[in-house]
């Protein structure tokens, strides 16, 4: 009996291989920690540290009660919600047209949308100043045509200018998943719905919209996340009295050298972003699961 017993070696081959694999993971983790987590930890520490270098929540209490912060939070959320809603409506309509109304160049338009996603966001703001700005084409034309002394169109330098720019920039983020979703809808379903007596709007409401809901929710959540953190457009538009949280952080840190306040607002902004990202992931996984179940 004893002859049959085989004693395994103290350290097996696979276990040693696992140890080596752990070593491969260490360098990227170190780089990530040095470049990303450590600066974030510094910001958080600064936010929770008093002048006497002790832990405190006073900084948060001060910031949360300041009108400047509350105004920034209000602008951030209202602009993000308005822009995301605009993106959803515009993206849905555009995608419907591209996907279901055959016209020459539909594929080219689809590719242009992809290109638009790759452009820097502030370019749109720059382009808008050429078109809708005080000295832009629209105002100059109107002033010449109607002999006006002041530019009549001045929405660009308000909250609406920021919203319009963000809608223009982020609508493709809605359209891309929507177009992919629409390509999955069988034409025969739409035809059958039509033969059963449903009119075009009814088909959109009862057949296309339910199928597009996961893509709309995912795209809308992503838009909300991106618009909450949008900095370039707001800075470039330079709208008076439109201060968002990222702008407020910039002002406090760079203009006023008030790092503790900037860090507190940054921590709140991070919490807001992570919360929205959590919602986005939840929507994606929920809708992804539902879609898979439907298919």
């Amino acid at each position: 009996m004893a002859d049959l017993v085989i004693t395994p070696p103290a350290s097996s081959g696979p276990a040693r291989a696992a140890d080596w694999r752990a070593l491969w993971i260490a360098p990227p983790l170190l780089v990530l920690a040095a470049l990303f987590f450590y600066p974030l930890v510094l910001i958080a520490m600064q936010a929770f540290t008093s002048d006497a270098h002790t832990f405190t929540l006073d900084n948060f209490a001060t910031v949360l009660h300041s009108r400047q912060f509350l105004s920034g939070l209000y602008h951030t959320i209202s602009i993000a919600v308005l822009a995301s809603s605009g993106c959803l409506v515009l993206g849905f309509v555009f995608s419907l047209v591209i996907a279901f109304v055959p016209f020459p160049g539909a594929r080219l338009v689809g590719r242009l949308i992809d290109t638009f996603i790759s452009l820097p966001t502030f370019l749109v703001a720059l382009a808008f100043t050429f078109v809708y700005g005080s000295a832009g084409i629209l105002n100059q034309s109107l002033m010449t045509a109607f002999h006006l002394t002041m530019p009549p169109v001045d929405f660009l330098y308000s909250q609406w200018g920021v919203v319009l720019s963000e809608v223009t920039v982020y609508t493709p983020f809605i359209m891309r998943p929507l177009l992919a979703c629409f390509s999955q809808i069988e034409t025969s379903q739409i035809e059958i719905a039509s033969s059963l007596g449903a009119r075009p709007l009814g088909i959109v409401r009862k057949i296309i919209l339910p199928a597009a809901l996961p893509a709309l929710l995912a795209g809308g959540s992503l838009c909300l996340l991106l618009t909450v953190n949008e900095f370039g457009i707001v800075l470039f538009i330079g709208a008076k009295d439109v201060i968002t949280l990222p702008m407020l952080i910039y002002d406090k840190a760079i203009q006023e050298f008030d790092y503790p306040t900037a860090c507190v607002i940054a921590v709140i902004n991070i919490a807001l972003s992570l919360g929205l990202y959590g919602c986005y992931r939840a929507v994606v996984s929920l809708c992804g699961g539902r879609r898979a179940a439907l298919d």
Binding site: E191, I192, S194, S195, L196
Partner: protein
Amino acid sequence: MANTIIMAPGPAQPASTMEASAARGASGIGFENVTVAYGNQTIVDSLTLTVKPGEIVALIGPSGSGKTTALRAVAGFVQPRAGRIVIGDRDVTHLPPYARNIGMVVQNYALFPHMRVEDNVAFGLRARHAGADAIRERVPECLGLVGMAKYAKRYPRELSGGQQQRVAIARALAIRPQVLLLDEPLSALDAQIRRSMVDEIGRLHRTLPSLTVLYVTHDQTEALTLANHIGIMRDGKLVAFGETQGLYRHPPNRFAAEFLGRANVLPAEQLEATDGGFARVRCADVVVAGRNHHGLAAGSACFVCVRPHDLRIEARSDSANRVAGVVRSVQWLGEQLSIVLEVGDSEIRLSQPPLARAPEPGSALTVYFDAADVTFVPEGDGHG
């Protein structure tokens, strides 16, 4: 349930109107010189065809023959370049699909995946603003008609292919359509379920005898089993149309003979008319007697058409036609034996019940067939 096919002209009618109009008779379908083209390519070429009320007409033909496009023109999914389409007494040529009052079933079922079975069936009724009571009454009625009443709460993904197709049929019937359009409805099903669904559709039509059905298929068994009339299309043209058995027994041209039932078609010459609607021709160096169903003139060239199952290897009468040849292949198909015989430059296929001793390939064989089973088909391939 039977004889309740709607005749109302409008697309969106309240349930009360639907019920009232159900008492009226059935509607037919009329193609009047219908041409459908995409760019320079003509898909359906001057199609003229009438589907009488209460009939099942099958359109068959090879891929690209235009049969599905013709059906889609009735549904309103493609717009004819010329001609008129009539449903009942209404010219629907320029009406949108939702205004045509048709029911349609397609190959891939096209059930709405986010709706339960009952909501799928109720879809058309809701689109037509039918009342809640009418929907509550009509949905179980239609599901019961196709044997799916107990699956009302399920989603399409929870059903088999055959069950989904039954729901699709119930959905099409729920709106009491003037006509039912079936576009290869059984093609996605496996052979066994397809056979049972053919029986099911036949039973359904017996239950709803006034339902007019235009049935597009590439499966001639479905067409032969279900249709009162069959139309055969080729390259956008209707090359043959007739009562199902008549078309099978006496195809009007070579293409129809070969496409419907794979008849043996042999070139013949010097037709000589005889009494009683019969004629004689010279074919494969022998004289063949057969029906001159199409009234071909004496002396004209034609084809001899005889079905594989009408050929026998033993004579049933002294007057039977006979053709001698060499066996090229013998194939056992279970319930029948398929034998290919080389006769001069041509081939003849015959199907026989399984034989105790099958002929060997290469051996000489004489086949016999009655004059009543032979049709002389005029020259020409059925093209305009």
